[in-house]
């Protein structure tokens, strides 16, 4: 709906990324400059902050700190994993959201997250529309998993991909430094889609890529894995770097990370530690070669010091475009990126119905995976390389990053 006058509510959800706050900065800075926007609020811990009436008055923040959000990792407002029931089953939360929105005259709502968050955003959008409450709702995508449908790529992916590619290069040099054997198994995030694991292939253009890559898109076979590692070791002085997704599954659908579920520790519960340690155990047993399992863990999604400038700037603009779209009357949409045709990398901002974004998952195309299932071809490199370009990070004070400090002034009801 056009010409709505009222407040903006922005909330962050799901697992953070190193650039998620760039979208917050984009939404805040753009919204604070819009004449139809009467106030800008940021919800504490996503949808829960709305339900609990806990949100911050962004108008009270120092504009310089809002700029620094671009370079500050993790969700500055706090995140949440909270799934709304279907309104047809239980509309308690929806009624509460409507109540809070009415009380504070929220006319623009922006929800920043991945698949699940777009689902939440979609449900809220539909409920508000059905209730006859005028509020323009726009989803702002974010996920290092890069698995959202309808967008060329997702805000946050480029920076995580840059971390993975750069770190694989560095680990490659380190792990191969001795004249003795060493198998290194690196575990990368991505439960159902292998985009981030695939990013390790970018290290290959510098001659420092992994020898083997295992994506969740390809059913995992333990015997083939052992044979792959043995083959690489035989050809390379018992040295091998394998990168595996945390989400690799056997053909029967069981996660490889749960392979040793019957092994329990002293306290009777299953071992912590991911799929890389499972595979390291197997390789150690089957080859006798020294093995090291490395999890990129939280670092791959919070290493803002290694962000991609392309990603930061696109993510920031995604926030601005969301506000512009909402203010111009758009609703029930997600901001997305469309890559222009041609050799020069360029994107346009588009809007996609939330419904479509919410319920479809995008995986790595089979034709980008090499025939033996352990590598990515040129098509993937052509796709991913533009996304990791450029360097930008928080200014250093005392040799350490100066991240944003928000005052977080709670709005009084």
């Amino acid at each position: 709906m056009e010409n709505l006058k009222g407040a903006v509510m922005f909330a962050q959800s799901g697992g953070p990324t190193s650039v998620i706050n760039a979208s917050a900065a984009g939404v805040f800075i753009e919204a604070l400059g819009q004449k139809n926007v009467t106030a800008v609020y940021g919800a504490a811990h996503g949808i829960k902050g709305i339900l609990n009436e806990q949100f911050y008055d962004i108008g009270k923040e120092d504009p310089k700190e809002l700029e620094l959000l671009k370079y500050t990792p993790s969700s500055a407002l706090g995140s949440v994993r909270y799934k709304l029931k279907d309104a047809s089953v239980d509309d308690t939360d929806y009624k509460r959201i409507l109540e809070v929105f009415s009380k504070y005259n929220i006319r623009y709502f922006f929800y920043n997250g991945g698949n699940d968050s777009m689902d939440t955003c979609n449900k809220i959008s539909k409920y508000l529309a059905k209730s006859g409450y005028d509020c323009n709702v726009i989803g702002v995508p974010k996920t290092i998993d890069n698995d959202l449908y309808g967008t060329d790529h997702c805000p946050g992916y480029g920076s995580a991909a840059k971390y993975v590619a750069t770190t694989v290069m560095e680990v490659n040099l380190d792990a191969k430094v001795y004249d003795t054997g060493m198998v290194c198994i690196i575990e990368v995030m991505g439960r159902n889609a292998g985009w981030l694991t695939a990013a390790s292939a970018l290290a290959g253009i510098k001659g420092l890529g992994p020898d083997l890559i295992y994506l969740p898109e390809v059913p995992f076979d333990m015997d083939k894995f052992v044979a792959d590692v043995k083959r690489v070791c035989a050809a390379n002085g018992n040295k091998c770097i394998a990168v595996v997704s945390e989400g690799i599954k056997f053909a029967d659908g069981k996660y490889v990370g749960e392979f040793k579920a019957s092994s329990t520790d002293l306290f009777g519960h299953a071992q912590l530690g991911g799929v890389c340690n499972v595979l390291a155990s197997v390789i150690k047993e089957k080859t006798g070669i020294k093995v090291r399992g490395i999890e990129f863990s939280l670092m791959q999604r919070c290493a803002a010091h290694l962000a991609s400038e392309t990603d930061v700037e696109e993510t920031f603009r995604a926030g601005r475009e969301a506000v512009k779209a909402a203010v111009s009357g758009q609703t029930d949409k997600m901001v997305c990126y469309e890559r222009k045709a041609g050799d020069k990398y360029e994107i346009e901002y588009k809007l996609l119905p939330l419904e479509l974004a919410a319920n479809t998952e995008k995986t790595v195309p089979a034709e980008w995976i090499t025939a033996d299932g352990t590598g990515l071809n040129e098509q993937f490199v052509k796709y991913a390389l533009p996304l990791i370009q450029g360097d930008v990070k928080a200014p250093l004070v005392d040799g350490l990053p100066r991240f944003a400090h928000l005052k977080k002034v709670l709005v009084k009801g």
Copy 2:
């Protein structure tokens, strides 16, 4: 001995660091400009390269690539862990070294490494002197462990410390993003000295430090650890960040990382994965709060993209100073840093007898550790903060680091 005319041999040893090649660059660039130096060789895989007569002619390298070594992680010549026997027990290796040195007229020998490497360097130095073979021998220190005696700090420590401090800040923001509990246990390298683990305290000056720090200098008590974590959790909404050294030991001297040695996996051997996973299991069992174990693994010693400029430049100059000292007639010494008195951080390069460097280990002073044994005080911050200043890294090509490419032309006998 002064006015020696002959070739330089340089070798790298032990676990690499992200800046170890800066010393290589310093030695090579300085040596190539010295009139008494007839050739510059780099040994493949440390002392083994000398024993096997496998070394590279550094004079054939492109000077631009030698410059890039300053920003290229891991030992570019290859490393080794090889312990020489005492010459009095078995002098086979020493005779061979003397033979190779004589054959190639090696009159300057530089060995780059940590405690063990300085021991090797010392033994070779003493043997050559005893044999009446004129060769000036200088040790160039390197270790992220920072545990070498007689030097204010060690080349490589500042960059690893910068990685640890920066990454703890980022992980802190990420791990505390939800409104639910989360205990995060981060494992840092350092088998006998807690210098690198202590560096996590630097994140505290930005308000993003760990809640608890456990060094190998303080005997570890599991009950106290659990109580510490519970206390922090109670005060902070069940959120706690603990940083532990891989080398923490119980009062009886047993490593905490071996606490679960009786737990074996499906294949009958002990679990891989470090002390952070051991402690995560315990905390999960005792508190029920969500726990994540994070190992900084190889990244903490190879993340050249996050190097300290201070460390890179000092390490480069340590290589140059080693050559200058040797050429001026010094021998049987290790280059070391002496911090000047006063508030402004500045160092001088000194020489220490190899014997002293070889057999003493420097740990974190007890008076820099807080009374409860889980933190570092201002004296540590004052010591460590100057070491992580400044930013420098390899130039980016395609958004990825352009590391040095050496031709590695083998010298023919």
